[in-house]
Amino acid sequence: MYNNLFIIHVAIYLIGAIAALFLHKNDRLSTYAAFISASVASIIGIIFAYTVISGDTYSFTMPGSSLLTFNLTVDKLSAFFIFILSLVVFAVSIYSISYVKEYYGKKNIGYLGFLYNIFIISMVLVISAGNAIMFLIVWELMSILSYFLVIYEHEKEDTRKAGFMYIVMTHVGTGFIILSFLILASASGSFSFESFHTTGTSLSPLLKNLVFVCALIGFGTKAGIVPFHIWLPYAHPAAPSNVSALMSGVMIKTAIYMFIRVFFDFLGAGVLWWGILLLVIATVSSILGVMYALMQHDIKRLLAFHSIENIGIILIGISIAMIFTFFGKPQLAALALIAGLYHTLNHAVFKSLLFMGAGSMIYSTHTRNIEEMGGLIKKMPWTALFFLVGSVSIIALPPFNGFVSEWLTFQSQLLSIQLTNNMVTIIVLFSGAGLALTGALAAMCFAKAFGIGFLALPRSAHAEHAREVPFTMLAGMGLMSLACLVLGIMPQYVIRIIDSVSVPIVGASISSGLTTVGIIPSSPHIATTVSSGFGSISTTWIALLMVFLVLAMLAAIALLLPKKSACRYETWGCGQPVMTARNEYSATAFTNPIKIWFASIYRGQRDIQTTYSASRFFKSSIKFESHIESVFERYLYAPIIDLTMTVSRTAKMIQSGSIHAYIAYIFVTLMVLLMYVLIGAN
């Protein structure tokens, strides 16, 4: 049974995919086939993941030829990621049942359902691959399938551009991965991950560093770390929202999975500068991610940039774990790794929730620009609530889940004080300031996203006519909101599970830090009592306290104050008779202080065009345009592309059309080679 669960769940995805394709003539049926089967499969996936985490590694070898062997190995780490995947897939699939109605009659639903399911299978296989060749195949398959999903609405110019950028970037990444795996493979003489594990640590320093750098670039491209992130804000918004949720929630996590696999499992985190480099990149990614997110008014692009930010936060944890491992502090490493893994789980949950929320907003308003939304909280109260939960989670407010993982990350940063290397300690501590800045900017960003998108008056006719989304969409979001809360207030259980995942990787457990204390039994707090007590929180208790206080206040108001209902009136608008949406503060204005603050990074440009009617005192219209520059695209990628183009154009001149020149090439080649022989002979 236990052995078959994996096969069964993959098979159900597969059946869903094929059924959707066969039923493509009937939109409704193929929707059901694709998404119901996916949600069933994901439940089995969750059960499977649980059995592995609590039991033994699952492995399976497919019969294959002598060159290509396909074997799957699901250890606890893989199982943890399968769990994340299945959880997200479950909610998103339910959400999708109604969401895809948008495309009925316009697009081929069967094709979408097919790709959706196969895409999930490819991710499952990526996580469970036990062999480099198989890994590369499924990895690239995942990229290609997600590319197809990104270009699903390929009639749009932007989508095509995004698709192209995505496939190229991801392929560049794959190139680096290939190089790093091939180095490992040629050293170990085998493609199996097991042999990588045994030979990885004994590689020569040069090769080891090469493997690290290649893996960092390769997987970093998929994860979207700066400066390899440029595809992400284009590709994620271009895909249908349910797919964006999967891409952002799960797909980029496969890179995190491989980071852990390669850096810890294969290479043993054996070099100090690896961890430090990764920490710096992670911190920069998180800050730049959120900074660019702030400037976005396209809700999905905004969320995509937040993925960069959160990947940064996850990697802060992981890189600190690498540093601790290097210094031989397994318990501290365990804490940091748990922080990273916990945030991975959290990010998967709240980011998919937010993407589903964004999808709902777009579903109802048919625009992605938050400047054209507004007032949705009254039209779509449930979506608003769920989006708010997602927002509070992502900006790490207690008692929701983001807080727990950020707290753990802060704690692991603080515990670097136990390291003996002063410089490293200072760097790690300083990254804490970066994380704090990230947190504050993220809060601002979601205050903007929620405040402008959902609150006040509708800002356009689109928003005026918005209606609440269908039930299954709400159900999908509701589920994830619940998950946000549960992961937030019951971290003690979650940490136990993640702890058992991280024990094989870093070789130490922190479950002793989970003290069982409390009025309510089994609602303990988590404490970082690593080697000496450091800090503790109990989100369970924070939640209880807040709930209690809110109830107490409501009771006090009811009992102590005279019963008076509120008087409804206009918002005060400086004496203007009627308040319209045009009086409201816009998203652009909201984030303007930040834009001015970081002007050197944003390099914003504004363009004001005023037209006058009679004289220059009578303005008939003012057109204001402002945009920021993507520094990396302009200063890193554009020169590379320009150089390639120039070189290519020059190189193309050799094919001049002249047959005489062509023969001359042969002549010269022949002469050069003969000279070479001659020189060799003398």
Binding site: I426, A443, S538, L549, M579
Partner: protein, 334 residues
């Protein structure tokens, strides 16, 4: 089965008493602090000014008045006063006021406290946007901007404190600092004090960051967001703001100047305990009054800064915190 939680204190009952005492202390002292601060400012501005208990009367009056809610506003508007009050008060239970043995000290450390404050801030910011007023939006935007400036500096100064105390839980920090007496004073300590002082000014919305008593919309930050509130809702949220101010001052007082705070382990020693607690409370009152006066003086001496100059102020704090950390690490001599 309850013994773990209250092992330090003996019994559930005493803990409950202590929690209730702390809650009431916070709620009751908060307006007083504002009163002291206003009085001091009036003194230096050569005005007579309202009495230090005036704030109580203001609040009482507000509770009685009817409240007006905008058509535009959603449930966020009504929920925010309660949420922010609850969040700040929860944070208050994790901050040492008169004792370092906090019943809920385990439930949240300084990071949790800051994030609880952030909960309150986030909802207030949403309210600024909820009413649709341009001033609200402006206030929200600025509030978040200032928060973004403060946060890194604050986190670093907290790190500075936490690494020297070896804990992030406030009770323990206070206890460690108080136990080491004047020996706690070191270069690291001094840097951290100055850094944190700048932060409390920013965090409590004082001049030169924000002017709590301004009524010119274009210069307001915090007040602009609350512009649409009236009656009991305004009272609750004002009280919450005052509580936050008290708590930030207490943080400063009990982390950096914890001397005199009661760090006993129970009530079993009878009369001695009670006198110790009394002393502790009196010392505490003195400390926060002095801080309030100091803040008021510094407020009187400076003018409100242009918003984009604040980066300078807070980067000063950031650098000081950084220096504090560095000097601590170097001083540990590993």
């Amino acid at each position: 089965m309850f013994t773990d939680l209250f092992s330090n204190l003996g019994s559930t009952a005493t803990s409950i008493i202590m929690v209730i005492a702390q809650v009431f202390l916070i709620i009751l002292l908060a307006p007083l602090l504002t009163g002291i601060s206003k009085k001091t400012k009036a003194f230096f501005q050569l005005r007579k000014g309202p009495g230090i208990f005036q704030t109580y009367s203001d609040l009482a009056k507000l509770f009685k008045k009817e409240h007006v809610v905008s058509h535009t506003a959603s449930w966020i508007f009504s929920a925010t006063p309660i949420i922010s009050f609850a969040a700040i008060l929860s944070a208050g239970l994790m901050i040492p006021i008169y004792t370092t043995s906090l019943p809920f000290g385990f439930a949240g450390d300084i990071i949790a406290v800051i994030y609880l404050f952030a909960v309150a801030r986030f909802f207030v910011v949403l309210v600024g946007l909820d009413t649709g007023s341009a001033f609200g939006g402006m206030g929200s935007s600025r509030e978040m901007f200032v928060a973004a400036l403060v946060e890194p500096a604050m986190m670093l100064s907290i790190f500075a404190v936490a690494i020297s105390a070896g804990s992030t839980n406030l009770g323990e920090i206070a206890q460690t600092a108080s136990a080491s007496g004047l020996g706690a004073i070191s270069p690291a300590y001094l840097f951290a004090v100055v850094a944190f002082f700048i932060i409390i000014i920013a965090e409590t919305g004082r001049i030169p960051v924000d002017n709590p008593s301004t009524h010119l919309e274009l210069t307001m930050i915090h007040e602009a967001m609350l512009l649409e509130y009236s009656g009991r809702q305004l009272a609750i949220i004002e009280l919450a703001t005052m509580m936050k101010q008290l708590l930030v001052f207490s943080l400063f007082a009990n982390i950096f100047f914890p001397w005199g705070i009661w760090s006993g382990t129970g009530f079993d020693t009878g009369i001695v305990t009670i006198s110790a607690i009394t002393i502790s409370i009196i010392v505490y009152l003195a400390k926060i009054a002095i801080i309030a006066v100091c803040v008021a003086i510094s407020e009187t001496l400076t003018a409100k800064w242009r918003m984009f100059r604040l980066t300078d102020l807070l980067s000063t704090s950031l650098i000081l915190s950084f220096l504090s950390i560095v000097s601590f690490i170097i001083a540990r001599g590993v």
